[in-house]
C-alpha cells in the first residue's frame, strides 16, 4: 500500500446539490504527488462538477478539501490559484494577434511592466522548451500556430504559473492522433517534475497511455481510484455506464448494394491532384488523415460549402451540379461539420427549430410554415436519434455535447438525405451518445443513404467504416476495405509520410 505517501490533495464527503438533484453525493477524491489521475464518466456523471469544485468555480454544500495535509477553502478561482491549482482550458485564452512570448508572460502577477524584448523572449524560450515547443520562435504571432501548438502554449502558460496541481479538461478533443502525442508528452513531463495532474477525457486510449490511476464517476458518485494496471478498456466502459456495453460499433452490412455516390476526377481547393470516391448502399466510407490532410476539404466541396474546381459527381448514377449549399440541400446532401458550435447548431434556438432549419421550406406553403407538419416531422427525427421528444422547446445550447451532436446530425433526416457527409461524428461526445450516433449512421447507410465519415480518431474509423481512405497533405495515399487495415497499419499510413518529410 502507498499509505506512506502523503496526499497532494484529498477531498472527502463532497456533496453538491442543485435543487433536488445531487450533482455530487459524498464524493471522495484523492491525488498523490507526481501522479496523473484520469477522471472518467459520462456527461453529467459529476466529473466536471468536481473539477469546478477544485478549481474554485463551484463551492460544495458539504465536504472538506486539504492540500498537502492542510485544510483549505477553495471559495473562489483566485483562492484555488493561490493554493497552487491551475486549469488548462479547453478553449484557448491566448490573444491571436500577439506574439507567443507576450502571451506566455501576459496575465502573470509576476510580470513586470516592461521587459526588454530579448529578456522576454529568453524567458519564453525556457518555458516553451518544457512543453516540447523549443522549435517555436517566441516572436511568432499566435495566429500562425496549429491547434496542437496552441494547446501546448496553453499548457506552457500554466507552467509559467508554477502550479502544484494541474487540471486538464479534454485537452485533446480538437486534435488529431499525431498531435495528441505531443500534448500527452507534455502531460507526462509535468508529472515527472512532481506535479499532480487531473486529466479529464473521453478518449479511453489516452487514459491507458498516460494515467497512473483512474477515478470513475457515475450519477454523481465516485468509485474508489483504481490503478490503470488493473483495468481493461471493457472494464472501464462497464464502470462508466454501470452496465455492460454491447457493441460500441454496429454490425456491418453483409453485402453492398447499388452505387449511391461516385466522384470522378474531383478537384477541390486545398487538394493536389484528383480524387475518386465511391460509396454504395450499405457501405460507410471513412476518410482519415491529420489536420490539413485535405479530407475535410473534400467534404466541404461535396456539400457545396466550398467550390468544386473540376470533376464529376454522380448521385444514383446521374451527374449533379454542386454549386452552393442550397443546391446541395435540394439534392439531398447532408453535411455535418467538425465544429458543431461554429456551424452545426443554433445554440440559442430550440431543439425543434434546430431540427427543422434545413427543411423548413419543404413544410411551408406560400411562405407560411405549417407548424403541425414541422412539429410532427421534427418529433419523428428526434425520436429516431433518441432525443427526448418532450423537451423539443429546450435551447440546444443548454444540452450536453452528445445531445447537441444528435441534434446536429438528426436535423438532416428531414431533408430526406441521399448522401450524409459527416466530419468528426463524435468529437466531445459521451460514450452512450456515440453508440447511438454510430447505430444511426449504419441504419442510414443500410437504407440507401451514402455515408462518408472523416475522423482523426483511428479507432472510430476502423470500427465504423467499411472502406478507409487515407490522406496526407492534400493527396490520397491509400484506399482499402477495412479488412485489409490493422490499427497500427492505419496509424502508420496516417503518420509515416511525416517521418519521410522531416
Amino acid at each position: 500500500m502507498n499509505d506512506q505517501v502523503p496526499y497532494r490533495l484529498t477531498a472527502t464527503g463532497i456533496t453538491k446539490s442543485y435543487g433536488a438533484v445531487n450533482a455530487l453525493a459524498d464524493v471522495h477524491f484523492e491525488l498523490r504527488p507526481g501522479e496523473v489521475m484520469a477522471l472518467l464518466g459520462e456527461n453529467g456523471a459529476g466529473k466536471s462538477t468536481i473539477v469546478k469544485v477544485i478549481s474554485g468555480l463551484v463551492v460544495p454544500d458539504k465536504g472538506e478539501i486539504s492540500i498537502d495535509g492542510q485544510a483549505v477553502r477553495l471559495s473562489s478561482v483566485r483562492a484555488s490559484q493561490e493554493a497552487g491549482i491551475a486549469v488548462v482550458q479547453q478553449e484557448f485564452s491566448t490573444v491571436g494577434t500577439m506574439s507567443v512570448a507576450e502571451n506566455l508572460i501576459l496575465g502573470q502577477s509576476t510580470a513586470p511592466l516592461w521587459w526588454s524584448p530579448k529578456k522576454l523572449n529568453d524567458q519564453a524560450k525556457q518555458i516553451l522548451a518544457r512543453v516540447g515547443l523549443e522549435d517555436i520562435d517566441p516572436r511568432r504571432s499566435v495566429d500562425t500556430l496549429s491547434v496542437a501548438e496552441m494547446q501546448l502554449l496553453e499548457i506552457a502558460r500554466v507552467l509559467a504559473k508554477d502550479a502544484k496541481i494541474v487540471i486538464f479538461d479534454e485537452p485533446t478533443a480538437a486534435l488529431s492522433d499525431a498531435e495528441i502525442v505531443r500534448v500527452l508528452d507534455a502531460v507526462k513531463r509535468l508529472a515527472r517534475e512532481g506535479r499532480s495532474v487531473i486529466y479529464v477525457t473521453h478518449r479511453l486510449g489516452e487514459v491507458f497511455e498516460i494515467a497512473d490511476r483512474v477515478t470513475i464517476f457515475r450519477n454523481g458518485r465516485s468509485e474508489a481510484p483504481q490503478s490503470v494496471k488493473d483495468l481493461t478498456v471493457d472494464r472501464v466502459v462497464e464502470l462508466m455506464i454501470g452496465r455492460e456495453l454491447g457493441h460500441l460499433y454496429p454490425e456491418r452490412s453483409q453485402k453492398f448494394g447499388r452505387m449511391v455516390l461516385e466522384a470522378k476526377g474531383l478537384k477541390v481547393p486545398g487538394i493536389d491532384g484528383e480524387i475518386d470516391l465511391a460509396v454504395r448502399r450499405g457501405e460507410i466510407l471513412g476518410l482519415t488523415g491529420q489536420l490539413g490532410s485535405g479530407a475535410s476539404e473534400i467534404m466541404k466541396a461535396m456539400s457545396g460549402m466550398a467550390d468544386v474546381l473540376a470533376g464529376e459527381v454522380l448521385l444514383d448514377g446521374a451527374p449533379v451540379d454542386l454549386h452552393g449549399r442550397h443546391r446541395g440541400i435540394v439534392l439531398g446532401i447532408a453535411y455535418c461539420s467538425p465544429d458543431r458550435k461554429k456551424d452545426g447548431i443554433f445554440a440559442g434556438v430550440s431543439i425543434r427549430r434546430n431540427i427543422s432549419s434545413p427543411w423548413l421550406r419543404r413544410v411551408s406553403r406560400l411562405g407560411f410554415v405549417s407548424r403541425g407538419q414541422e412539429n410532427s416531422e421534427a418529433t419523428r427525427s428526434a425520436s429516431n436519434f433518441a432525443i427526448d421528444v418532450n423537451r423539443l422547446d429546450a435551447l440546444v445550447g443548454n444540452l450536453s455535447g452528445g445531445n447537441q451532436q444528435k441534434v446536429a446530425v438528426g436535423k438532416w433526416l428531414g431533408i430526406r438525405p441521399r448522401v450524409l457527409l459527416i466530419e468528426e461524428p463524435t468529437r466531445g461526445v459521451d460514450i452512450g451518445a456515440r453508440a447511438e450516433i454510430y447505430a444511426q449512421l449504419r441504419r442510414l447507410s443500410d437504407s440507401g443513404v451514402g455515408v462518408i465519415v472523416t475522423s482523426s480518431d483511428t479507432n472510430e474509423i476502423l470500427g465504423l467504416s467499411d472502406t478507409i481512405a487515407t490522406y496526407y497533405r492534400g493527396r490520397q495515399t491509400a484506399s482499402r476495405p477495412v479488412g485489409q487495415w490493422t490499427e497500427p497499419a492505419l496509424v502508420r499510413e496516417v503518420m509515416h509520410r511525416e517521418e519521410q518529410a522531416s
Binding site: G19, A23, E42, T49, F346, P358, A386, R391, A394, N398
Partner: protein, 329 residues
C-alpha cells in the same frame, strides 16, 4: 439509452438561473411602464388624462412603426440602420409631392412607401454582400439627405391646396388612425416573424450565420427581406408623419434614428441578433415616448430631456445585457 434527462446536472441549475433571468428580461419593461404610469398619474398633474395618453400613443406610433420594422434587421444579426431620419424625410417629401401632383393621398402614400422600399432593398443588397450595416446605412443616410436637400433646395415642402392630412386626422372612437396602424403593423410583423419561412430564416441567420449558411439559408435574400420590413416601417411612418405636420423639410426629425434604435434595444432584442421580437420593440417605443411626454409635462427643456432619456436608455440596455449574460452562462 442516453436521453435528455441525462443533461449534466450543473446545467439544470444553470437552466433555473437562465429561466429566472429570461422571465425578468421579458417582463421588466412592461412592469416598468406600468410603474411609471402609476407614479406619473399620482405625481404629475394632467398626466392621467385622455389627451395626454393619446399624445403618448401618437408619439409612440411613428417611432414604434419604424422600430417594429427595424427589428427584422436586428434579429437577422445585421445590427440596425442609422439612416432612419434621412429615409423617412425623403419618403415624406415624396408623399407631399405626389399628393400635390395627383391630388390623391392614397396614390401618394403608395408611391412614398414604394420609394422607401426601393431604397431599402438597395441597402439590403449591399449589406447582403457582407458589408457592415452601420457603415452602409450611415453612408446611404448621408446620400439620401443630400439628395433630399438638393431636390427641395433646402426649403420647406408644403401641401398647398390639396388635403393630405387625412391619415393623421382620421379618428375612430376618438383615437387617431396612426395608433391603430401602429398596433396592426406590430401584430402583423409579429405574426410574419413567427409563422413565415422568411421570418424564421431571419431569426436563424441572426442566431448563427455559419449554421444558417450550412442549412441552405441565403444571407443575401434574408437580409434583403429584413430591409424590406424596415423600409415598410419607414414608408408608413413617413406618410403618417407628413400627414400630421402637413409639411416637411430636409432637416426635420433629427432625433428619430436615435429614438428608433433606442426603442429596439430597450425593448430587449439582442444586438447580436437571433433573439427578440417586434412586439418588444413596440413596447420599447412606448416606454421612450412615455418618459419623454412626462418630461414635457413637468416642463423640462429639450437639452436636459435628451440627457435624461440617454441615461435611462443606457441604464436599461446595461441591465438587459447583464441579465442576458446571466441567462446564457
Amino acid at each position: 439509452m442516453t436521453t435528455l434527462d441525462k443533461a449534466p446536472l450543473e446545467l439544470r441549475d444553470r437552466a433555473a438561473v437562465r429561466k429566472a433571468s429570461n422571465t425578468v428580461r421579458n417582463w421588466a419593461l412592461p412592469i416598468l411602464i406600468v410603474l411609471v404610469f402609476i407614479i406619473a398619474s399620482v405625481t404629475v398633474p394632467q398626466f392621467f388624462q385622455f389627451e395626454t395618453i393619446r399624445a403618448i400613443l401618437l408619439a409612440t406610433s411613428i417611432t414604434g412603426i419604424i422600430a417594429v420594422g427595424m427589428t427584422a434587421i436586428t434579429l437577422s444579426g445585421n445590427l440596425f440602420s442609422l439612416g432612419v431620419t434621412a429615409s423617412a424625410v425623403f419618403s415624406g417629401v415624396v408623399y407631399i409631392w405626389v399628393g400635390q401632383a395627383t391630388g390623391s393621398m392614397y396614390v401618394a402614400a403608395l408611391v412614398a412607401i414604394i420609394a422607401a422600399v426601393v431604397i431599402g432593398i438597395a441597402q439590403g443588397f449591399i449589406v447582403g454582400l457582407g458589408l457592415n450595416t452601420v457603415i452602409v446605412t450611415l453612408a446611404a443616410g448621408s446620400i439620401i439627405y443630400g439628395v433630399t436637400a438638393i431636390l427641395t433646395k433646402g426649403e420647406v415642402v408644403q401641401a398647398k391646396g390639396t388635403s393630405l392630412e387625412g391619415f393623421a386626422t382620421f379618428q375612430i372612437m376618438g383615437i387617431p388612425l396612426p395608433i391603430y396602424i401602429f398596433v396592426l403593423f406590430t401584430a402583423v410583423s409579429w405574426f410574419l416573424t413567427e409563422h413565415t419561412l422568411i421570418g424564421r430564416n431571419i431569426h436563424l441567420l441572426g442566431a448563427n450565420e455559419n449554421t444558417a449558411r450550412n442549412s441552405g439559408i441565403s444571407r443575401m435574400r434574408t437580409t434583403i427581406w429584413a430591409f424590406v420590413s424596415f423600409s415598410l416601417g419607414i414608408g408608413i411612418a413617413a406618410v403618417l408623419q407628413a400627414s400630421q405636420m402637413h409639411q416637411i423639410q430636409a432637416d426635420n426629425l433629427p432625433g428619430l434614428t436615435m429614438d428608433v434604435v433606442a426603442a429596439v434595444l430597450v425593448g430587449g432584442t439582442a444586438v447580436a441578433g437571433g433573439e427578440g421580437s417586434p412586439v418588444k420593440s413596440a413596447i420599447g417605443a412606448l416606454f421612450i415616448a412615455t418618459i419623454t411626454q412626462i418630461m414635457v409635462l413637468v416642463g423640462i427643456p429639450q437639452g436636459p430631456r435628451y440627457f435624461v432619456l440617454g441615461v435611462v436608455v443606457l441604464a436599461l440596455v446595461i441591465v438587459l445585457h447583464l441579465l442576458r449574460k446571466a441567462g446564457t452562462r
